[in-house]
Symmetry: C2
Subunit: 408 residues, 2 copies
């Protein structure tokens, strides 16, 4: 990609009402543009990151047997009356023809439960799990954390259905492992901890995945032995590590980057979803739900991976791997840089080529640090005199000369 | 994919309120499931088709220089007051915190114009074009055409921005060609015709792409010489072919599968979007918009490509290329079919494997015809005795034996 042709440029300033580091850098770097509080436009750079996060999540959900579907955002309010959730504060309401009452789904239990019910008759059809990657709508009273907490945001939500509790418990552990794998691939594995949270009516615990970070809105009591956390909500009832009994817990801030929950029969019983067992007897269906917000993950990555100059993207989700900078005024330098760009692209590499001729080297360096691609390559008269480019990783201070012949 | 593990099964019946052929077959085939009038869930088979259509559209929009972005669905009603479109009938309205008024975007001019304005200063930044593939919301009074006309539906919308009319006109012709290419790749090229429609205040014509088909809601006056159409709305003013003057026009029905429109300065002037020319003088920005609805295209493909037994997907968008059927009761047949399945998948082929052991050959044949994959492969004791599979294309009557060794 030629930077000169990229839609969405870097900027030095950002609106004063953006308090969060993620919004500051994502807006300044040209990744997102604010529409209104809690609602953002994704520019090409930002959409590339979001898509890469979605694909990692998609791969791991598919690997544990999840079938991808796509449910709508508009749904009959009636479905929420069925489950008693029509009074939730976060619901956006709207009206269809003839005053028909719709809501914008903040989560999809009210859609997925009757949907799966329609295609499931026998215990032999279970277990099954379906997931989608789609937008959610929540009328959050406060939306000041950039893309960490949006009124419209992207979500992967998987739902599992089981003929008995053992099957749910077994899949729940499989999903837990898949979640750890997702965070590891995203570069957040070391600092993202399974956190025990309230289980609601049907289960002792649910689990959050908390990325430990000082800007996190959640408080986590962390066991350094087992590397698990306990959510603030349940610390009064559970003041020791549920895994080893350790009472010496360390208080930390966390960003909730995932949540898995045994729903039990809450939604299946509301919709009368039962299956027949081998003897033709009706069995109530057990459900679990498993959420990760790709847009929130993207914001979390910026909160975790940045310095004072800008973002430091992990390679797995960086919009491009290489940021190629042509410096100087000589036509020959730009022609050589162009050749290197084309060779890299032809070899399958993802390259952002800063081909601007009307800005200084200083501006290009500052933009490269702000945008935060993993590897910066500089082409100048000086490097070309040595048939080389200067290579520097965004997360390292030292640069080195690399012969052009070795690049591709 | 094992059919036994596929979420969303075929069914013999469909709700009586589904009048359209596309909804009938898509629901019966397990591609979509109706949420409410004009709102559908996409099951795995349907999502695969939708994604393939989106990717073809994405590739062709990228090829003409479009940058992919992602805009939100929730937007301030204020933006629609700015353009005077806040009174449109199709707007869904909702309220945010403190009674803030939002709408669900039925199209994105009110979002994209100020967004592009934010990053565009000089005539040298133009022309540029951005597009997204995203959901649209329209409060249609009547939504009886399955996924042809939805209240929530998928749309690719591209917007182009220009410093003068010549540049807009030039890009408009490029987009026209790209649209023809999309329909050709989708298998609709021969029956999808450029149709002259009302141009609004800024241009003599806009253009629709109409797929000629008897179920189409639109009336097209078709010139068989030039293979272009004239929309009913303008036939009173334009009663001959705009390209050759032919007055012998044939009345046909069409499904509108695309629309391109010169917006002129309508939206740029509402938002005060101007750029500076080389002399520092302000130039008003010219805009064009270009829409294709992947979900509507999917419905159109079913209307066009089906017989009384089911859908006949064009290969480019079929959810899988091969439908592999194991017939009979012998374990050996299923074991051999499984081997063939794995070899085909390993070779990169997309295969749906009907591995069910509890249904008759007749059920499998009927499901294969209903689902409509391009190539049916039958494995049975009889074919295995000849080290072969029976291959039949969905759009041909004849089958032939193909040696297993030649398959992969």
């Amino acid at each position: 990609m030629y930077y000169s042709k990229l839609f969405g440029k870097t900027s030095k300033t950002v609106s004063a009402d953006e308090e969060s580091v993620n919004a500051q850098f994502l807006i300044r770097g040209g990744f997102v543009s604010k529409q209104m509080a809690g609602v953002y436009n994704y520019l090409p750079l930002g959409l590339r990151v979001l898509t890469k996060i979605q694909n990692i999540v998609r791969e791991e959900m598919t690997a544990i047997g999840g079938s991808e579907i796509l449910m709508p955002s508009l749904t009959q309010e009636e479905s929420y009356k069925t489950t008693g959730r029509d009074t939730m504060d976060v619901l956006f309401h709207t009206e269809g023809p003839g005053g028909a009452k719709y809501v914008l789904n903040p989560t999809h239990e009210e859609v997925v439960t009757p949907l799966v019910q329609k295609y499931t008759f026998s215990y032999q059809d279970l277990p099954l799990s379906v997931f989608q990657i789609q937008n959610k709508y929540r009328n959050e009273p406060r939306a000041k954390s950039g893309i960490l907490r949006g009124r419209e945001f992207n979500m992967k939500d998987l739902y599992s259905f089981h003929a008995n509790e053992e099957s749910l418990n077994e899949f729940y552990e499989v999903a837990k492992k898949a979640y750890h794998k997702v965070y590891t691939r995203l570069g957040l594995g070391d600092i993202t901890v399974l956190t025990y949270a309230s289980g609601g009516a049907f289960s002792r615990y649910s689990h959050e995945f908390q990325t430990l970070n000082e800007v996190g809105e959640d408080t986590v009591y962390f066991c350094e032995e087992c590397r698990v956390g306990i959510n603030k909500e349940i610390i009064a009832d559970q003041n020791s590590c549920p895994e080893c009994g350790n009472m010496d817990l360390v208080q930390k801030n966390g960003i909730e980057v995932g949540n898995i929950f045994k729903l039990g029969q809450k939604f299946s019983s509301a919709f009368g979803f039962k299956v027949l067992d081998a003897e033709g007897k009706e069995l109530p269906v057990e459900m679990g739900c498993y959420g990760i917000g790709p847009s929130r993950v993207m914001g979390t990555l910026v909160e975790v991976f940045h310095d004072e100059k800008g973002i430091i993207w992990p390679e797995a989700v960086a919009p491009f791997k290489y940021h190629l900078l042509a410096l100087g005024r000589e036509d020959e330098t730009f022609a050589e840089a162009e050749k290197i760009y084309k060779n890299l692209v032809a070899s399958g590499a993802e390259v952002l080529f800063d081909d601007r001729r009307d800005v200084t080297a200083g501006v290009k360096f500052a933009d490269a640090d702000l945008i935060g691609l993993p590897v910066r390559l500089i082409v100048s008269k000086k490097t070309l005199d040595q048939q080389s480019v200067e290579m520097k990783k965004r997360n390292e201070a030292e640069s080195k000369l690399v012969p052009i012949a070795d690049l591709v």
